[in-house]
Each structure stands twice: as C-alpha cells, then as structure tokens.
C-alpha cells in the first residue's frame, strides 16, 4: 500500500517538478480523452502542443493570447501572495476594456498618436475602479472579497452588454450589438508587420521584472507578503492590513484593466459582447501553475495560451467542442493541486 509520509522540510525539487508532473498527467488524461472520443490521440496532441509553435505566425498568435493572461496573472500574484482572494479579474478586465473603449470612441481623425497612452491609462483606471468597489466593501463592511469580486464580474458583463446593445451601438452596424470600429490612431502599436503582437508583450515583460523587484527586493513588497503568510506577524510588525488590501486589489484591478484595454484597442478593435473571453479566470490558473512567481508565470501563461489555441484548432480540425479548452485548463489546475502534495509529503511503499 502506498502511504504519504510528511517530509521534515518541504522539498525544493518538487516545488519545481510538481508543475511538470501535473503537465505530464494532464497530457496522459488528454490522450485517454481523445481515445474515448474516438479521435486519434497523436493528432490531438499535435493540435495542442505542436500546431501552436510550428511556425513564426503560430508563435506570434501564441504571444497574442499569452500577453493578457500574463498581465492579469502578475496582478493576481500580488493579491494571492497577500492573502487577498480576487476572483473577479474577469470583471476588472471587462471594465478596463469598457473604459478604454469609451476613450477610443471619443477619438476622431484629429487625435494624435498619444491617444494610445490615454486609452491604456483609462483601461488601468477602469479596472482599478472596479476592484476598488471590492476593496471598499471589504474594508468598510468586512464583506467577503471572493464573493464580491466574483459577483461583480457578472455586473461588469451586463454593463458591457447594456452599452453595446444600447447607447454605444454602432448606428451603421446593421443592428449588431457592437460599437463602431475604433479609429486607427487608437490602435495599440504593433511590434512588427505581419503579426498581431503589439507593445502589450513588452509591457507584460516589463511587468515581470517590476514584480520580481517589488516582491523580492523591496521592503514594501516584503510587508505586503507578510500579511498573506502570517497575518498575526504582520500585525505584530505593524504592517497595515488595510494598506495591503488596497494595494493588492488596486494592483490586480489595474493590471486586469490594462489587459482589457490592450485587447479591445488591439486584436479586437471594438467593443462587442465577446470581449469577456475568460482570460480573467484562466489567469488564476496561470498564477498558481506559475507558483505566483513572475518568471514561472511567463511559462504558465504560454502553456495556457497553447490550450486556448489548441482548443480552437481542435474545433476546426478534429470537430471537438470548444469546451475542450476549459477541460484542459481544469485538468491542469486539478493535477497541479494533487501533485503539490508531493512538496510536503513523500510517497512510500508500506506493507
């Protein structure tokens, strides 16, 4: 019989190996899934793990999807490390997109290129404002931030729908629920011709560096995390838990809002009911699979992006439903949580 035995100290090896083992198990279950659905498993794996990286264009698409995931996850890492459970990044993403879209709609032919900066700032502020609602309710009334932030996602989506079905609907749009296409001048500048990758990627990578410095090299980053690791110790040290709450929610809200702005003013180019693509929720998985570490999250964002693209390809190439993306994302998080047991425990064989 296998038995779990507590390790005297958590294993550093397994804290790195656990995500890899989780990926392997996810792939194995995926193979079984393809077989059960009557599809060729080799073809299925190809669609998920080879097609997204086989050409320069495929790689650039991978980056396009990984960028918002990474930006949101960076903000969420600050939250989760300070024991603030913001589950509503999707809502903050949507409100960032709405605010950025609103600014973009104001632009006309006379606007200068600096409007892009304003669009992005509006996105950040929109996301922050939405997260601030959660922070305020938690701070003043001790409302549970998990529930509040999650419920506000649906409010944000309904607000977006109200705008695109109502006041912001494109009068020339044949009654489709969408705004007019934003002016070209508001478009987020692309990095190169022939791909949709834009400067959002650079912002995300700068964010990785900034978060690393903040978390591991500054006193305020340290204080922020102590509240998450040991609240009584933070109180003893005199680190304000209220400040930690606001910093966490405003940072993650701002990051999610920025991602929303980069999406609508980038690849999408207008507001539609399809702006919420689940990035805000997927980013939670990105954050945890990446161990809440800035560099780790780069890899997990790419992996999750593969699942997004693979899921779309599986739809067209294999005739599988699109929800296969969600299945793979869920499997990965599930197996990761299971594999994490091995960090604190070792498996032994006992009669």
């Amino acid at each position: 019989m296998f038995k779990l035995e507590a390790r005297p100290q958590p294993s550093p090896v397994w804290s790195y190996a656990s995500p890899l083992l989780a990926l392997v198990i996810t792939v194995c279950i995926g193979v079984l899934l393809f077989v059960a659905l009557g599809k060729d498993p080799v073809r299925g794996l190809q669609v998920f793990f080879w097609e997204p990286i086989k050409s320069g264009y495929a790689l650039s698409e991978l980056m396009v999807k990984a960028t918002p995931l990474l930006i949101i996850a960076l903000g969420l890492a600050v939250c989760f490390r300070s024991n603030v459970w913001n589950i509503g990044a999707e809502g903050q993403f949507v409100m960032g997109a709405v605010a950025a879209g609103g600014v973009a709609l104001l632009a006309d032919a006379s606007s200068g290129p600096s409007i892009v900066v304003v669009v992005m700032l509006a996105g950040v502020l929109g996301g922050m404002a939405w997260a601030a609602v959660t922070a305020l309710l938690r701070d003043r009334f001790n409302a549970n931030e998990i529930l509040v932030s999650l419920m506000l996602v649906y409010v944000a989506i309904q607000f977006l729908n109200f705008l695109v079905y109502g006041p912001w609907k494109d009068p020339m749009g044949f009654n489709f629920p969408q705004t007019k296409t934003f002016e070209a001048v508001t478009k987020i500048p692309r990095l190169m011709e022939g791909s949709r990758v834009n400067i959002g990627l650079l912002l995300a990578l700068a964010g990785v560096g900034a978060l690393w410095v903040y978390l591991f090299r500054t006193y305020s980053g340290f204080a922020q995390q102590v509240g998450g690791l040991a609240p009584a110790a933070a109180l003893y040290a005199g680190f304000s838990s209220r400040k930690a709450l606001w910093v966490a929610l405003l940072t993650s809200g701002g990051a999610a809002g920025l991602a929303g702005a980069l999406e609508v003013a980038g690849p999408i180019g207008q507001l539609t009911p399809y702006v919420p693509a689940g990035y805000g929720f997927a980013a939670i998985i990105v954050a945890f699979v990446g161990r809440l570490h800035p560099v780790g999250m780069v890899f997990s964002a790419i992996l999750m992006s593969m699942f997004y693209i693979g899921g779309e390809l599986a739809q067209s190439r294999l005739g599988l439903p699109k929800s296969i993306t969600g299945v793979f994302q869920g499997l990965l998080l599930f197996t990761l949580l299971a594999c994490d047991t091995l960090i604190a425990y070792r498996l032994t064989w006992k009669r």
Binding site: A233, L235, Y236, S240
Partner: protein, 544 residues
C-alpha cells in the same frame, strides 16, 4: 466509587503498565529510543524530561494515538496492542491533555456526555458528575457552560471526564502549567486520593519540586532515551536536574540596582475585550522604570494577552492619556531626534511607531506572530528591524541582512542551518533565542517579553534570562509576563499579579512569597485604601 477494577487475568504481582524497548522514529528524528518503563498499581509515576525529550510521544503510544516502530506494551501483565484511544479507554487508560478539548458553548455535562456511551441519558451523566465531583472534592456545577469556567475549572472537567471511564491508569500531561499554586495543592490532594484507591497515575512534568512532592517513582528521559529511574523523594532538585539535562542550570545573578527614570506609564487603562472569549481590562495602573525588571504573574487568560496587545500597539484602541512612553534624551542613534526628551501618549500609534521610540516586544506565540514560519531567519529580522533597508525606496540590502542574522545566530548560539533557514525549521527554544536576540540587539529602551522561556529547554531558558538581565543592567526597562513563578522570582525587581482583567499593586521582590502571589492570582489582594468595605465598593464600581 472505586477506580481500580482489577483485571481478572492479572496476577497480583503484575505491574499495571510496563513498556519494553519502545522505539519510535519520525522523519529526521528518533523520538523514543529503546524506552522501558514500569508503573505499579496505585503508584504516581513521574515522567520527567525537557521539551523534546520524547515524553509526549511516549504517552501517545500508551494512549494508542501513535504506533511504536518497535517494542511491547504490557497492561496488567498482558501483551496489548493499543491501536487507538478508544481501545485504550476500553482497557482502562485515560488521558488528560495539556490543551483541553472542550466545546466552549456546551455545558459541562454535555461536554462529558460527548465522550461517553450515547445510551446513557444526560440526566444520568449529570448525576454521575455530581457524585464523582463530591467524592474527590472537584467542585464543579455540571450545568454551567464551559466558556464561563476558569482554566482550573476546565481542567477539573477534563479530570472528571477521565474518571467517569473508571480508569486503572490516568495520564496527566503538564497539568499544573495553567493552575495557581493553591489550585495545584487541591489537584495533588485529588491525585493522592485516586492513587490510594489503586489507580496508577503517570504524571508528566518538568517542574522538579512538584514531582518531588507528589511522585513515588520517576523515569527521566533525555533525547528520547531513559537516563534514569529513581524515587524523586530521595533526590534533590540538583540531582534530578542532572539526570534531565546532564548539568545543573547556572544560577542567575540579579544584582540590586537603583531604578532610573520612568519609561512606561499606564494610567487607569480600561479596555473592552475585542474577542468574545477574551477578558476586559479594568483600571490598569503600571509603571516600568529604566534599569528594572517588572514581572507580571498570573494564570494565562486573565487579561495578560489583552494588556500586552494594548502596550505593543497591536490593539490600538487604548484611549488617549492611558499609555505613555518617555523617550530619553540619551536614546541611541536609531531613535529619531524629534522623538527624544519627550513623553509620548501612545494612543493610536502603530507597533512600528512605538518601535521607533525604542519599545520592543517579544510575543508568546513565536510561529505566526513573532516570526513568519515559511520565511528565513534573515527575512524575519525585517519584521522589527530596518537597519538593512535603505531609506527612500525601501531597497533590501540582502547581504547585510544575512550578516545581521548570522550575527544573532552566533551571539545567541541559535541552532539553525543558517540565516536563510525557515523559522519553522527551528525548535521552539532556538526560535525563541533568535527572536529575543533580534529584539535585544535593537538596543531597546523598553523591552516587553511574554512567556520568555515557555517551552524552552532549561539551558536555553537560563541563557535567555541572563541576556534579559544584562539588558536591565545596561539601563533598559523590562516588563516580563510569565506563568512560571520561579522565573519571575529569579528575574524581577518588582512583581504585579494579573487576575480577571485587573492588575494588583506592585510588590517588591523581597516582600513577595509564593503563598501571597498565589492568593493574589485569584484576584484577592488588599485594596490600597484598606480592607472590607472599600473592596465591596470597588467591586460595585467595576460592575457599573
């Protein structure tokens, strides 16, 4: 009621319990190594050892909560495999744990009922409790909710619960750590009565004088091995101590010294409890001067925690004008010049702000409050020390931080893998040495220490006390809150007692006796104005 129901198959000469060659290994540590122990019927047998000597593991093995890797357990001469506590109870083994397992919202009778067969009606349980309580002088009302009981009363509930199973062997784990000296006397009477009726008692403790008073046999453990078996009544504290730690603890040197200027003043501090099961603070008056150690005695849970939080700033609700701290003009370089030479009202200032004035605090909870368990020792310095943080942007100078931690590790002889060892990887005593070291090296003007040596082995305890006294000799004001009377008598210049949220008047150490402090622990100190009527008036005042 009789407790010692003889096992039918046991021969008259068979010992009640005998352990042979018990070994238990945990990953990285051998908790018990080839331990043998024999308890006769009706014997009060002490198991003596420092924290971490393997006492608790051994008791858990007897009680069936832990399975030994090797060795045999014989109960009444019969080889027994005790797989779980239910089987232990069926055999006639009962245990009273150091930490009580009572539901606060249920009554005494309901709590006892939980552990008994459900076929028994509650009224019958209540009757049995009354009967047992009367038989042993364990004064308790079965219908009272547990949260209204004092700690000593809760312990009585646990003992009654154990007695109702008619044990042949009763295990008590550090039962006196939560009791006043008078309550200890009462407990000993009960235990001696039980033993006279034939019930064997295993008494776990590290308090030598108690063991010498109560027990007729003693097994000493050190590092998981038996280092001696003796009759404690024929031994001295020194000889028992040698068996337990291999040496006698060095004596402390408390030189008389004139106290300096007043550093901390608490004036008529009353504070409603923040936690529903906490204690309200009532009219606390306290003064601590430079160069003296003031001790606060009392059973835990009488408001010490609340007072300490109000002093440290973790609970910032203390009203304006109640807590004052004087910052000397000679304060050392880390204290900002703007704060010097003034008396500050601490109302509303955070723990960090108080620390800037030179108030440092060592809490009783080490893991999770005094230190972040997952973080390394170097990073744990940052909780209270900012020397390795560069001004403006708060950049961490990690090299300097590690050096600082290494310095404390060396000076205070902390056993740790290095400055990056996680706080939770240290033993309780070593972590306490590190935390005390961290606060002492900050050169505080006022050091507040709660339970300085709680759960710390004798050697480390002596070192910590010595360091605190050195700080006092250097002119620091020290406030020590402790449950260990011996420790307070060893260290303090003056003593207070805390009971039911009130603080007794101060008593010079020369005037303090264990009896007097013990009485005061029940809240019975003479009011300063006189006796009788004033006290009633005061009580009425308190209730208003």
């Amino acid at each position: 009621m009789t407790s010692g129901v003889e096992h039918p198959n046991a021969s008259a000469a068979a010992p009640r319990l005998s352990l042979r060659g018990i070994t238990k290994r945990y990953p990285g540590v051998v908790a018990n190594s080839d331990v043998s122990l024999t308890v006769q019927p009706g014997e009060i047998h002490a198991v003596l050892g420092e924290n971490g000597a393997g006492k608790s593991t051994l008791m858990k093995i007897i009680y069936g909560a832990v399975k030994p890797d090797e060795g045999q357990v014989l109960f009444n001469g019969q080889l027994s495999t005790i797989r779980n506590p239910q089987e232990a109870r069926a055999l006639g083994i009962s245990m009273v744990f150091q930490h009580f397992s009572l539901f606060e919202v249920l009554t005494v009778a309901e709590n006892v009922w939980l552990g008994l067969s459900k076929t028994l009606p509650l009224t019958e349980v209540t009757r049995q409790i009354r009967e047992t309580a009367a038989a042993y002088g364990l004064d308790i009302d079965p219908d009272r909710p547990v949260h209204t009981l004092s700690v000593g009363e809760m312990q009585r509930v646990e003992i009654i619960r154990a007695l109702l199973t008619h044990p042949q062997l009763l295990i008590l784990d550090e039962p006196t750590s939560v009791l006043t000296p008078q309550a200890v006397e009462k407990l000993f009477v009960v235990l001696k009565k039980l033993a006279a009726e034939g019930c064997s008692i295993l008494y776990i403790s590290h308090k030598l004088h108690e063991i010498r008073e109560l027990c007729t046999a003693c097994t000493v453990l050190r590092g998981g091995k038996v280092t001696g078996v003796c009759n404690p009544q024929n031994e001295s504290n020194a000889s028992l101590s040698r068996l337990m730690i291999g040496a006698e603890p060095p004596a402390l040197d408390l030189r008389p010294q004139a106290a300096g200027e007043t550093v901390l003043t608490v004036r008529d501090l009353s504070l409603k409890r923040a936690d529903p099961f906490g204690t309200d603070l009532l009219h606390i008056d306290l003064k601590v001067c430079a160069g003296e150690v003031v001790g606060i005695a009392g059973v835990s849970g009488n408001g010490q925690g609340e007072l300490l939080r109000a002093l440290s700033g973790e609970d910032p609700r203390a009203p304006s004008g109640t807590v004052w701290m004087a910052v000397s003009t000679h304060a050392h370089a880390l204290v900002p010049a703007s704060l010097r030479g003034k008396v500050h009202d601490l109302c509303g200032s955070s723990p960090a702000a108080r620390r800037k004035m030179g108030l440092h605090f060592v809490p009783d909870e080490r893991l999770g409050r005094g230190a972040v368990p997952q973080l390394g020792l170097a990073h744990n310095l940052l909780l209270t020390r900012r020397e390795s943080v560069s001004g403006g942007i708060g950049w961490l100078k990690l090299g300097q931080l590690r050096g600082q931690a290494q310095g404390i590790i060396e000076r205070f002889k902390v056993k740790a893998a290095g400055p990056d060892a996680a706080a939770k990887s240290l033993s309780g005593g070593n972590l306490q040495k590190f935390i005390v070291g961290r606060e002492i090296e900050a050169r505080p003007a006022l050091l507040i220490v709660s339970q300085p040596t709680w759960g710390v082995d004798v050697g480390a305890a002596a070192q910590i006390r010595g360091e605190i006294l050195k700080l006092r000799d250097a002119g620091c004001a020290v406030l020590v809150v402790s449950e260990e009377l011996d420790e307070l008598f060893d260290m303090s210049d003056r003593l207070h007692v805390m009971a039911k949220g009130k603080l007794s008047p101060s008593l010079n150490r020369a005037d303090a006796t264990v009896e007097r402090i013990g009485e005061w622990m029940s809240g019975l100190w003479d009011p300063p104005q006189g006796a009788g009527p004033t006290m009633l008036k005061e009580a009425a005042h308190v209730q208003a």
